[in-house]
Structures are given as C-alpha cells and as structure tokens.
C-alpha cells in the first residue's frame, strides 16, 4: 500500500491506458467498418469514449484539487442533473419559489453541510426539512391542481439528484482507522466499479446479448450483458482491494452490492424516461445523453456504499 497520491496516480494511469486502448480500438473499428461515418453504433461508441476522456480529466482535476474540488464537481453535477429532472416534471408557476429554493438554497446548503462534514444534518436535511418546507412554498400560492404530483416529483428530484449524489463527496468525511488521508480512493473505487459495470454491460451486451432484460424499460439491456457486466466489474473491484480498506473478498462483495444498485438505478431512471416519452435526460454528454444518464448508477449506489462502509469500517 503506497501513499494515497501514489495509489491515485497508479489508478488514473490504469484508467488512462484503458482509454488509450479504447480510443485506438474505436479508431480501428471505424476505419474498418464505418469509413463514411454511417455506422450509428460505432459513431456513438466513439462519442462515448471522447466523453469518457473529458469525465476522467475532470475527475482527476477535482481529486488533485482535493475535498473542495470533489464537492464543487459533484455540486455542479447535481445542478445539471436536477435541471434535467425538473425539465420533465409536472410543475407549474405556483411551484416557482419551491423550485428556485431547490436550486439556489437546498442544493448549495446540502453540499456546504457535506463540506463541513456535519453528518447529523446532511443526512436528514433533504429527507426531512426540504420535504416539509418545499410543499409549504408551493401551497402558499394556492394552486391545488395536481398538487401532490407536483410536490412529490420535486421532492423525488431533490432526493435523487442532490441527496443521493452528495453521498459521493460525503465519503471523504468517513474516519476509517488505518485509512486516514486515503478516502478519495474510496470515491475512485465506487466510481470505477459502478461505471465500469455500465461499460462492461454495454460491451457484453453488444458481443453476446440475445435475451432482453427489461424490454419495456431499456431496449438495449440484455441478460447476457447484465450478468457479464456485473461479474466483470466485481472482478475488477476485487482486484482494486489495495486502494480500499477491504480485503479482496470484501471488495468483491462490496462491488457486487454497488453494481446491483447501479443496474437497478439505471432501470428506475429508464422507467421515468419511458413514462415521459424521452430517450435521454439531456444532451450535454455526447454519446451518453444527459448527466442523469451517466450518473444514474452512481446516485443509486453511493448512499448504500456510504452507509455500509460507515457502519462496518468506522
């Protein structure tokens, strides 16, 4: 076990090599099978890989900056995700204060609490206080049309896009004996395992996929992709045990847990997209869609990962 920054450099070096390999492979495939740029799958693959470069560079920059960098990065992701979410919700002008408060008070306050490592408050602030006060803002306008739907959707958006997402930087505040100063590696572990699971599911699905997993939710997810993806990502997670406080077995089980949460998170957020009749949450991440499309698995796994680590390792 080296120093935290050495291990982080090693991890990023590995990710960098994977991306170089992926870019080279994609260039080769396009040269071979899509010289005129007409193969939709390969062009999308290339856009996805380019976006991965940007995501990895942003994460590296945030990690080097430290706690503030990670909090600012995930705060901005929450902002973009909540913006995508609210765009598709049933809100009207009577919710204007409630929405303004969600974006400009609740979101920054939640991340400020995480920055101050005030566990007792950031873990109940949105579930209790935003939950009670946001409906009050809306009810004061006196518009009762679809009132429960409006406030419930706003609260759901805050829980998913702000509360759950803020549990990623909250990992920095855990005091794990013998792991001091290395918490940023826990974030790297979570993000690499969950996101690689998405990538592995995509790759296995494209290579072997035959049986659709949930045709009404996500046309591209297959049983073969899901099994191959979860197992591959968990193997990768086990092999990354040296950056965590876990033993190899614990790292493998932890990976199985978070990849499952991630996969179901993807299905849940797909269900919402289908209901609203859209294919992607947004368009800002080329090849992937919106921020929620990329973060769905992370937001579903982060709170569970956080609590399991907190109760078992601190």
């Amino acid at each position: 076990m080296g120093s935290a920054s050495n291990d982080l450099a090693l991890v990023f070096g590995g990710v960098f090599l994977v991306l170089v390999f992926a870019s080279a492979l994609s260039a080769f495939l396009r040269h071979r099978y899509s010289p005129d740029g007409r193969n939709v799958v390969l062009e999308n693959l290339d856009a996805r890989i380019m976006s991965w470069w940007a995501i990895v560079l942003l994460l590296a920059f945030a990690f080097i900056w430290g706690k503030t960098g990670v909090i600012v990065l995930f705060g901005l992701c929450s902002f973009a995700a909540l913006r995508e979410f609210v765009t598709l919700t049933t809100t009207n002008q009577a919710d204007h204060w409630a929405l303004a408060a969600s974006f400009f008070v609740v979101l920054p306050l939640q991340y400020t609490l995480v920055w101050h490592e005030w566990y007792g408050l950031y873990s109940i602030f949105i579930p209790v206080y935003a939950f009670l006060f946001i409906p009050i803002f809306s009810v004061l306008r006196g518009d009762t049309r679809q009132y429960l739907v409006r406030i419930a959707e706003t609260q759901w958006g805050l829980m998913i896009c702000v509360f759950c997402a803020s549990h990623v930087p909250a990992l920095l505040s855990l005091d794990i004996p013998g792991y001091e100063g290395r918490n940023v590696l826990l974030i790297a572990f979570l993000v690499i395992v969950v996101q690689s699971s998405d990538v592995f599911q995509y790759v296995w699905g494209k290579l072997l996929g035959k049986h659709k997993l949930a045709p009404s939710l996500s046309p591209s997810k297959t049983v073969e992709g899901a099994i191959g993806g979860l197992l591959s990502a968990s193997l990768l997670g086990a092999s990354l045990f040296w950056i965590t406080p876990f033993s190899p077995w614990q790292a493998a089980l932890m990976s199985l847990l978070i990849t499952h949460m991630g996969m179901f998170g993807g299905l849940v957020l797909s269900a919402i997209k289908r209901d609203r009749g859209v294919k992607d949450w947004g368009h800002l991440i080329a090849g992937h869609g919106g921020f929620i499309d990329r973060l769905d698995s992370v937001v579903f796994s982060a709170p569970v990962f956080f609590h399991v680590v907190r109760y078992s390792w601190t």
Partner: protein, 225 residues
C-alpha cells in the same frame, strides 16, 4: 481631439457590447443549456426572417445564442421601442449588444411602424421576428398573428421565412417572477418557405401560424399538464 475621443468612445462601446453579448449568451447557456435543433433548415447565411413564439423577454436572446456566430452577426431581433428605449441600460443592450431593429408599437402613429424593419431587410440583414406582436401570457400555445409578418413577406418576397419554436423558456421565468429557475430549453428551426405572389393575408398568416404550431407539436416530447 474630438475625432480621437469619438473614435475611442466608439471602440469602448463596441468592446463593452461584445463582452456583454458573450456574458448574456453564457448566462443563457448556464441557465437553460439551450440547444438549437435545425430540424427543417440548415444554418445557412441566407437572408431569412426567423419568426418565433413569444412568451418571455429572453426569447430573442435564446435564438440569438444558438445561431452560429457568422449568422448571428447579420441577424437582428425586431423589438418594441417602448420597452427597449426606456433607460440607458436597456438602450445599450437593445441597440449596441443585440443591434435590434426597434419599432414603435404605439397605436395611431402616422408613420409606417415597419419602415425600419424593411430598411434592415433592404440592407441584407436577417431578422428575428415575433408575429404575435406581444408576449403570450395565456394558456394557448400561440396568439393570433398580427399582420406585420404578411406585409414584410409581401413586400420582400425573396426573403425566406423560418418558423422557430422556443420550448420551455416560459417556465424558466413566468410573467411576474424575479428569479429564473434552471430548465433545459430548446430552439427548433422548421422548414423555410417563401411568400407566394397573390397570397391572401388571412390564409398566409394562418399558414405561418400552422407551420409554427406543427413544429411545436413535434418538439413537445412531454405534455407539461
């Protein structure tokens, strides 16, 4: 000395206008992540009247933000002088930043209110035009078009008319609100058409309005209830 002072002042104003334009576009993007969808038209440097639905003061800013810079340079929003002539800041933004064509919407004027608009067309500029004449604050998707669009098209028949649907901006900042809320907006450009000689005014305006409504139906992926 006077000449140099005037020259310096012009350049300072131009620099300020350029910077302000960049900041306004940046703010619009941060708030709305606005995206231009060229559904029925390509972004070409052809003289056009981009006519759009009008629900917010930010409408022309949003269209202007998604236009490619080379087209943006020659595209001028048509706006009411009663709003944009009030106060020095609005004057600066209206005239210097957006290079607006200001029209007098006051009733009973003796001069033709569209004269400055025709002048802009004659000098080769494209326009951003709101044919409803005023901001739509009703629940209806569009107000009945005023006759301005017809008169412009009839007297300048070579200019392409492009319907432009702005989605969601009315939710970002509804009438009477002070704080904008961040929501994703889109600006969709429909298929261009031109004035056919001899078209009847009512039929022409109906056709233009229908084209815009059809565009909105396609854009509206979600029914916002």
């Amino acid at each position: 000395m006077n000449g140099f002072g005037g020259w310096a002042k012009t350049w300072i104003v131009r620099f300020a206008a350029h910077t302000t334009a960049g900041l306004i576009a940046l703010f619009a993007r941060l708030l709305t992540a606005v995206r231009g969808i060229w559904q029925g038209a390509d972004p070409l440097e052809v003289q056009r009247i981009y006519y759009a639905n009008h629900a917010s003061h930010g409408d022309s800013v949003l269209i202007w933000t998604v236009l490619p810079p080379r087209i943006r340079r020659n595209t001028r929003p048509v706006a009411g002088s009663d709003y944009w002539e009030r106060g020095r800041l609005r004057q600066f933004i209206g005239r210097c930043v957006f290079n607006s064509v200001l029209v007098d919407r006051g009733k009973g004027g003796k001069v033709d209110p569209l004269a400055p608009v025709r002048q802009a067309l004659d000098s080769g500029d494209s326009l951003i035009f709101f044919p409803e004449g005023t901001r739509n604050t009703t629940d209806a998707p569009l107000l009945p078009f005023k006759s301005g669009l017809f008169h412009l098209a009839r007297t300048r028949p070579s200019v392409e008319l492009v319907p432009v649907w702005i989605e969601n901006l009315n939710r970002v900042m509804p009438k009477g609100e002070v704080v904008p809320i961040p929501l994703i907006c889109t600006v969709t450009f429909g298929t261009p058409f031109t004035y056919q000689p001899g078209s009847d005014k009512k039929a022409f305006l109906q056709r233009a309005s229908d084209a815009l409504l059809a565009l909105s139906a396609g854009v509206r992926e979600v029914d916002h209830g």
